[in-house]
Amino acid sequence: MFDSYIENTLQYYPEKCINCLMCIQVCPHVVFTEGKEHVELKKPASCMECGACAGNCPVQAIEVESGVGCAWAMIRAALRGEDMDSDASCCGEDGGCC
């Protein structure tokens, strides 16, 4: 309770992993660690869904619905009747949030 961040959209398919370690390099929250045959998904709950790992995985062993976790942008989009999941309203435009 009081933790909305335990579950997220990160999916990892270790059988596809070719152990290039790119995800470990790009992840800012040490979600993946080195393993023997393939990378290990160590701390899935720490994932912030930035999408860096999925976008840099050459074999699509990682999937995530990436986006910016910004309530300000999402609430504004919802109030304007736009899609809450679009990135359109976040950051930098019209005096955005960050």
Partner: protein
């Protein structure tokens, strides 16, 4: 990758960004001399520091822009490293000021004046823009090697293998923080600590001026209205509420119990407004002839409204942090915003009842 990110991050071949970049890309095929190499230094002048201060306060936020282009720092040769940066002043200056004594090239790409991480999230710090700027600047003529160093936080918008395929340049992800670059450049490997994003007290504190600027207008209006209706004490509560939400909350973030921002905000807002509520429950402030019930109504409103407001501001801080996921924030919005609205609504209702009851007395 998700559908929505694909349009933003321009990884898929049929994305909008590709179409938008097609025209400038086509331009590059014509005989055209590449842009001149600009010079830069690792020194930040006092007027640039003042510019950083303004940027941190949200003043003229569209104007903190660096011209996209290729810059040389020191006396680089064709073997010198190439570092890629966003065209936001704070990003570019953080990079060059960390490179004292290093001879290198800096390729500034057009991120519309947005910092690396936010721009990567939107895809403007992205594969297509990097590939375009590599060609546009004639980088393959400037350096003999085929490596570019990107800030790690640019990775959400970039596919290293796509950049390689499209430009021939291999992407190397440097450390998260520019301050670690000197160390990184010695071995071209980053330690686990260099790869981890932090959110220190100082990191959180520099965000507070912009937070305050965001709420300054409603705060002033509410303060004036309450000053007229309930006197200086009412205005004071408004100011304290804004201060708690925009400065105390970011400062105390990791020390407030629970994980969700909304519950953290409810706790902080409750703690801050409780003394006022207790004081008002026992004292007749607005008019000397207030009944005990009217005192209780004042106290309840004073507790409910500021608590809900602080919680709402707290929830809105999620986008400024370095670790909230979209799935989590969405869950928070649906879980707590109705509750906050209910709290605020009840508070307003009590105020209206109080107002009517006080008017009748007069």
């Amino acid at each position: 990758m998700s559908k929505n990110r694909d349009t933003g991050s321009c990884c898929s071949s049929d994305s909008e960004m590709n179409t938008a970049n097609f025209i400038p890309m086509a331009d590059l095929d014509k005989k055209r001399s590449p842009p001149e190499i600009s010079e830069t230094t690792s020194v930040i002048t006092s007027s640039e520091r003042f510019g950083h201060f303004l940027a941190r306060c949200g003043v003229k936020r569209e104007e903190h822009i660096v011209s996209p282009g290729i810059y040389k720092l020191g006396n680089p040769t064709s073997d010198s490293p190439v570092l890629v940066s966003a065209n936001y002043t704070l990003s570019f200056d953080a990079l060059r000021s960390s490179l004292a004594g290093i001879d290198c090239y800096i390729l500034v790409i057009d991120t519309k004046g947005i910092n690396v991480w936010c721009a990567a999230g939107k895809g403007t710090f992205g594969t297509d823009e990097i590939v375009y700027r590599i060609r546009w600047s004639g980088l393959d003529k400037i350096v003999k090697h085929r490596n570019i160093i990107l800030p790690q936080l640019g990775a959400p918008g970039v596919s290293a293998y796509d950049v390689k395929r499209m430009s021939g340049f291999k992407v190397e992800y440097g450390p998260v923080r520019a301050e670690d670059l000197q160390q990184y450049l010695k071995t071209h490997t980053a330690t686990a600590e260099m790869r981890r994003v932090r959110f220190t007290f100082k990191d959180r504190l520099v965000l507070t001026p912009v937070e305050l600027v965001h709420v300054i207008k409603p705060t002033l209006i509410a303060a004036i209205v309450l000053y007229l209706l309930a006197g200086p004490f009412g205005a004071f509560i408004v100011v304290v509420t804004a201060f708690a939400g925009t400065i105390l909350f970011p400062a105390l973030l990791p020390f407030i119990p629970t994980h969700d921002f909304s519950t953290k905000g409810l706790i902080l807002g409750g703690i801050v407004s409780l003394p006022f509520a207790v004081f008002l429950a026992t004292t007749s402030t607005i008019s000397s002839a207030m009944s005990p019930l009217e005192n209780v109504l004042t106290a309840l409103a004073t507790f409910l409204i500021p608590t809900a407001v602080v919680a709402y501001i707290a929830l809105n801080f999620t986008g400024c942090t370095t670790y909230t996921s979209r799935a989590g924030v969405k869950k928070e919005i649906f879980r707590y915003v109705p509750f906050m609205a209910f709290m605020g609504g009840m508070g307003l209702l009590f105020l209206i009842i109080l107002g009517i009851s006080l008017l009748e007395v007069i």
